[in-house]
């Protein structure tokens, strides 16, 4: 039903032009992102050659430094270094790790797959719980169950995810011995607790937002109109109110992706899940900066794309939203 509407719209030329325009607008942002990422290497004192030597745990002598600088091409003009790096990125070459010289891209994308699995499951879990909870809470406003749900979501929002993860690990892995303490492989059992830990802050935010939106919509004139026509409560809630709330659910989902990306760094480190978050933390500890750069670039690009998709979807979800200039 939705998809039909969607496809019909996309076929229109005007729509295609608009999508193209938005995609083109992405380019300067992605470019800026790449420059930012490239510059990250220079924000701390010491040049990249020095950093690489430190990462390799080699002794730092002047000779070695000069050698490394030549090797890394640091004596060339700045913009040329950037251009080379950028072209490399476009070819999928994210450089090599400082530590072991292995290509960064391989490590990153393999780890990304694992994170995607974890994140996807977590997001699904969050949606499946938060939306019904939010609706239920709104429909039964000011009853005990409403207060309970609101209380739990408030608390969930105030607990840092790392604390929750540590506590979960303590109770379920150590005390109850239900799950392995250190994840030996990225399997289903190992995924349970990290997924829960990742999902909780998202569920909390989602539930509160959904509840607020549903309540807001319930007070609108059209709901009075629907009731005055004797429309079934079920129809009012699921066919009308939810339709209006959809826009904000999609927005939230996009934003939650961002917080999940950050959360994955912490959660994966605690539970030992071999995802991109853990990889980044390990790399930071080992001063393996190319990996950090790659991490920023990948996550940034994904986030930008997702935001674009959610923006474009608004046009379908609420045709009244005019395109921004």
């Amino acid at each position: 039903m939705f998809v039909k509407q969607l496809l019909l719209q996309v076929r229109k030329d005007k729509m295609k032009k608009y999508i193209l325009k938005r995609v083109l607008q992405l380019i300067p942002i992605l470019l800026g992102l790449s420059i930012l990422t490239f510059l990250l290497l220079y924000i701390s004192p010491g040049d990249p050659a020095q950093k690489k030597l430190v990462s390799m745990e080699a002794m730092i002598t002047d000779e070695l430094l000069e050698q490394m600088r030549e090797e890394m091409g640091l004596n060339r003009p700045f913009w040329q270094q950037y251009a080379d790096w950028f072209v490399g990125i476009l070819h999928g070459d994210f450089g090599t790790c400082y530590r072991d010289g292995l290509p960064v891209a391989d490590k990153l994308f393999r780890a990304l797959k694992n994170t995607a699995i974890l994140g996807g499951t977590s997001m699904l879990l969050a949606m499946l719980l938060a939306i019904p909870f939010g609706i239920y809470s709104a429909v039964h406003q000011n009853k005990i169950i409403d207060y309970l749900i609101r209380f739990i979501s408030f608390v969930g929002n105030s607990i840092p995810s790392f604390l929750l993860a540590v506590l979960l690990m303590y109770f379920f892995c150590v005390k109850l011995k239900l799950f392995p303490v250190v994840a030996k492989k990225n399997g289903l059992k190992e995924m349970v607790l990290p997924a829960i830990a990742l999902a909780v802050p998202v569920i909390s935010r989602f539930t509160r937002q959904v509840r607020a939106e549903v309540l807001d919509q319930m007070g609108r004139d059209y709901v009075h109109g629907l009731r005055s026509r004797g429309v079934k409560e079920r129809y009012i809630l699921y066919r009308n109110v939810l339709r209006s709330v959809l826009v904000s659910i999609v927005t939230l989902a996009g934003l939650s992706l961002g917080s999940m990306m950050a959360g994955s760094v912490v959660i994966e480190t605690i539970f030992g899940w071999q995802g991109i978050g853990k990889l980044v933390m390990d790399s930071i500890t080992a001063r393996d900066y190319p990996v950090v750069q790659g991490f920023v670039l990948i996550f940034g690009t994904i986030y930008v794309m997702v935001n674009l998709i959610t923006d474009l979807s608004y046009h379908f979800l609420d045709p009244r939203i005019k395109k921004e200039n």
Binding site: L226, R229, G230
Partner: protein
């Protein structure tokens, strides 16, 4: 000012469709509707005329669904075809409203979901009253749209409220209200938000519908001219009470209450009244 009870005056079929007795209603602690009583017969149009703040909206909200609008009923009764409107269960309410009692609001498009097509919303109402039939319902809807003089009916059905003009939306709203052939039709300022020319059209169309469908109407308005055109009887409301209630002709010729006189005097161009009387 004593509450005035309207007596039935017609010698036509005189079943009391709606009987409101001593209704006191308002919000929180405030009494807005202060002891209102009136009766409505079948096939009759009653106008409730008054200025803003006199309580006519609250009266309407009390009759539709007090709980929904936060209206408190302090005292009084409202009986529709022998049923107590304030004592209905939720399920009875859902069955009654939309089918036997329906309404049109001042801003019709705001009583519909802004971004769903009218087709979906009409279907949904029919389904809620278990009157949806795959073959005949669309035809029924189209016929109703025709009755309100809407052209381009397919396009309108496939449109959403925000895409149509005020006049069109108002007509669709009326169509929705008459779709299930209600016995009582409540109209709250149905034309006030429209351009003057469109107003006149809608007024005439409503009158025609009333003649055809032989339903009863309560028309709430602050526009004495509209009331004079459409109503069999007019109840003048002031500060929560009905101060005068009389057949339209009699009210216009010999208003008793001073407020009624003020209202009539405030209507410009008295010559128009004479023309209206002649055409009746």
């Amino acid at each position: 000012m004593l509450p005035v009870i309207c007596w039935m005056w017609r010698d036509k079929m005189s079943d009391r469709l709606l009987e409101v007795t001593d209704l006191k209603a308002g919000y929180e602690d405030q009494v807005i509707v202060d002891g209102v009583s009136f009766e409505l017969a079948e096939n009759e149009v009653l106008g409730i005329v008054g200025e803003s703040g006199c309580g006519k909206s609250t009266l309407l909200k009390a009759l539709i669904n007090p709980k929904e609008y936060g209206v408190r009923i302090f005292d009084g009764q409202a009986v529709f075809q022998g049923r107590d409107l304030f004592g209905l269960s939720d399920r009875e309410r859902k069955e009654l409203y939309g089918k036997d009692i329906s309404m049109v609001f001042q801003n019709s498009s705001s009583s519909f979901h802004p971004i769903r097509t009218y087709k979906k919303q009409f279907t949904e109402t029919l389904k809620s009253h278990a009157l949806w039939d795959r073959e005949s319902s669309i035809k029924q809807i189209m016929k109703t749209l025709e009755r309100v003089n809407l052209k381009d009916r397919e396009r309108i059905l496939e449109s959403c409220p925000y895409e149509l003009s005020g006049g069109m939306n108002q007509r669709v709203g009326i169509a929705m209200a008459i779709l299930l052939n209600p016995k009582l039709f409540l109209a709250d300022e149905p034309t006030s938000a429209l351009d003057v020319t469109v107003q006149k059209q809608i007024v005439e169309e409503l009158l025609e519908l009333h003649h055809k469908m032989k339903n009863s109407m309560i028309l709430i308005t602050h526009n004495m001219g509209v009331a004079a055109r459409m109503c069999d009887r007019i109840a003048v409301m002031y500060e929560g009470k009905i101060v005068e209630c009389e057949q339209t002709q009699i009210l216009l010729k010999n208003p008793v209450h001073p407020y009624t006189r003020e209202l009539l005097a405030a209507v410009p161009r008295l010559g128009r009244w004479q023309k209206l009387e002649e055409s009746e």
